[in-house]
């Protein structure tokens, strides 16, 4: 029997009983549709979390002070417990570590800030010009801190958009105005663009000032609280992390890596952790949707068994005129696969529409990936084969004489 004949037989068998075939296919459509929609929600959430992590900068490695308190330190509670990282460490990293794009040391702390009768409490980040590159900070108004500001200990400040709104009113232009931090006046030279997202603390509610100014006038020491290192490419992340660790161990005269007074965090690790959470979530959703797919498959089996019984005489005739067992089982298997295939195609479209509606009206980001479509087709074909196999075998094993006599 050639394929085109098999398809013709299958087509006419399915269309002979339109309502029954339609309802059976509906079961598969709902199953496949919900799998596609659920996976798209899961993957959308994953993408959202990932992009929000990446908004703090890409290919980022962060060096932070460790937890051992240095003897006689004057650590303030909000800062790291060790004051072991310095500006010089950052300079050494940028000179000696290969495959890095930029290095940005920073010192941060919270202060009460006042300006013209209003006040707020927010993070003050003392940093250098390369920070804007490393941490993806873009300027909306004015300028970011320059190397010259850092050299000259300039008392200038760049406001985050939320801080600007709090101090000067929404969407105002505060460039040239003064803010008072810790009883020292700073001139506002710029406002950063809003980053949105609430990934790891709001990135919009902060004030940037030159690193040297922060160390001299606010912290009163030359330690830094974080060094952000950007690798040239994601492939170099591990290598850069390795180099930074060994360089700092040498610089701090520590022989045992376990005793390190700093920690090096890789952005990829953070992304991975978040991904594994959303993956679990996606699998859970897909599994729930998968149940409806199995129910749809049982519907197929039920219909096929009914069909085999109804068409017993026809099977007998086909055998009498020379059909082999495998011809008969292929015919019924093809019918089951055709049903699931049609269900699969319509189901993918249906699931895609659902995910569109969810992102439009539900406010949840969704993304229908090639993977979920391939998965849906694979699963629906597999269901067709699994649930069609038994009815097909049953049809094939009918004895021609008995089948011909069947009333």
């Amino acid at each position: 029997m050639i394929i085109s004949d098999l398809l013709q037989e299958t087509y006419s068998a399915i269309f002979m009983n339109k309502v029954r075939s339609g309802l059976t296919i509906l079961g598969i459509i709902i199953g496949i549709g919900s799998v596609v929609a659920m996976i798209s929600i899961g993957q959308g959430a994953q993408g959202q979390i990932q992009s929000s992590i990446e908004s703090i900068g890409s290919n980022l490695i962060m060096v932070m002070p460790g937890f051992q308190a240095g003897a006689g330190s004057q650590v303030r509670s909000s800062r790291g417990s060790a004051q072991t990282l310095t500006r010089e460490d950052a300079d050494a990293i940028s000179e000696q570590v290969s495959f890095i794009g930029a290095v940005a040391p920073e010192i941060s702390s919270r202060y009460q800030i006042t300006a013209k009768g209003t006040n707020t409490n927010t993070s003050i980040i003392g940093t250098v010009a390369s920070y804007s590159q490393v941490r993806n900070v873009e300027i909306e108004l004015g300028l970011f801190i320059s190397d010259q500001h850092v050299r000259n200990l300039s008392k200038v400040a760049v406001l985050g958009p939320t801080t600007r709104d709090d101090l000067f009113g929404e969407n105002s232009n505060p460039v040239g105005q003064k803010v008072r931090i810790n009883r020292i006046d700073f001139t506002v030279i710029g406002v950063t663009k809003t980053k949105g997202g609430t990934g790891f603390g709001s990135q919009d509610d902060m004030i940037f000032i030159p690193l040297s100014t922060a160390q001299r006038f606010l912290a009163g020491s030359d330690h830094v609280s974080t060094i952000s290192v950007q690798a040239q490419d994601s492939d170099y992340m591990a290598s850069v992390q390795q180099q930074v660790t060994s360089l700092l161990l040498t610089r701090h005269n520590i022989s045992d890596p376990q005793m390190a007074d700093f920690s090096v965090m890789n952005q990829a690790d953070i992304v991975e952790t978040a991904s594994s959470v959303t993956n679990t979530f996606t699998v859970l959703l897909a599994a729930i949707a998968g149940i409806s797919l199995v129910v749809g498959g049982i519907g197929i089996m039920n219909m096929m068994l009914t069909t085999v019984t109804e068409r017993t005489r026809e099977i007998g005739l086909r055998k009498a005129i020379g059909a082999k067992n495998k011809d008969i089982s292929f015919q019924f298997l093809a019918e089951a696969i055709m049903l699931t295939f049609i269900g699969g195609v319509v189901g993918v479209i249906f699931g895609w529409l659902i995910s569109l509606l969810i992102s439009k009206f539900g406010g949840i980001t969704t993304s229908v990936s090639m993977f979920s479509i391939v998965l849906a087709f694979g699963v629906s074909a597999a269901i067709g084969i699994c649930f069609g196999y038994y009815p097909a075998r049953r049809a094939a094993s009918l004895k021609p004489i008995e089948a011909l006599r069947y009333e």
Binding site: M1, G316, K319, I321, G322, K324, I401
Partner: protein, 237 residues
């Protein structure tokens, strides 16, 4: 070309054995028109199943075209049916949702004959079976009983079989239509040299054949030329 040697068929249900055919032996030559006649329960259907390679004998041998087919597997029997045997059933057994042409080509589909050639062959045998050309594309359930049986006859002929087996072909037809169908068989035998075995319980139907094998209780009680063959216009010789 057909030879049955000492064929027994025993059905076993539980501990009860039923011997349906008892040492049946006969030969049918190419071009013969034979009726196997017997009352219901005489074993004639079982004999037909064995002749049609739908079943195998318990004992004895059945030779079809010099080949012993009595102990073949299911798939080998399917091949024999596909190439050498054409069936005509009492209840026609046409596919209701398919056209006349589709019904007739069905055996060729399983034989893997290409599409164009199938239709060509189907049209030849439809003509042989005497169905008007205007019906070729009708659905088979829109035809009358007599037309349906002609389609079934065409289907039985399409693979150019060594043997056409007709199981009570007039059983579901009124006398007049039955007559036409029997006439068709006579014509196929006389003009196209087809070998035909007709199974029936009616003497009247059997009398359309050249030779009658009379079977009662699984034994052949009479086997001889039919001296009163009925012909197309109802005359007897």
């Amino acid at each position: 070309m057909i030879e049955c040697r000492d064929i027994d068929k025993i059905y076993q249900s539980g501990s009860v054995e039923t011997k349906v055919l008892k040492s049946v032996s006969f030969k049918i030559e190419e071009g013969e028109f034979v009726a196997i006649m017997g009352p219901s329960g005489s074993g004639k259907s079982t004999l037909m199943h064995i002749l049609g390679c739908l079943d195998t004998p318990t004992n004895g041998n059945y030779f079809l075209d010099e080949q012993d087919v009595s102990q073949l597997s299911d798939d080998e029997l399917a091949d024999i049916r596909k190439n050498k045997i054409g069936f005509v059933f009492q209840s026609f057994n046409l596919l209701p949702r398919a056209t006349v042409l589709r019904n007739v080509v069905l055996p060729l589909v399983y034989a893997g004959i290409p599409r164009e050639k199938r239709e060509e062959q189907a049209k030849i045998v439809l003509q042989e079976a005497g169905l008007e050309e205007s019906h070729y594309y009708h659905l088979s359930n829109q035809l009358s009983g007599g037309q349906m049986q002609r389609v079934a006859i065409a289907r039985a002929l399409v693979n150019n079989p060594s043997l056409v087996l007709a199981d009570e072909p007039t059983g579901n037809l009124d006398t007049k239509t039955g007559e036409i169908v029997l006439e068709t068989f006579q014509k196929l035998n006389a003009e196209h040299k087809r070998t035909i075995v007709l199974i029936t319980h009616e003497r009247y139907v059997a009398e359309h054949a050249n030779r009658i094998i009379h079977i009662i209780d699984g034994r052949i009680v009479e086997d001889g030329q039919n001296k009163h063959q009925r012909f197309i216009n109802g005359k007897t010789t």
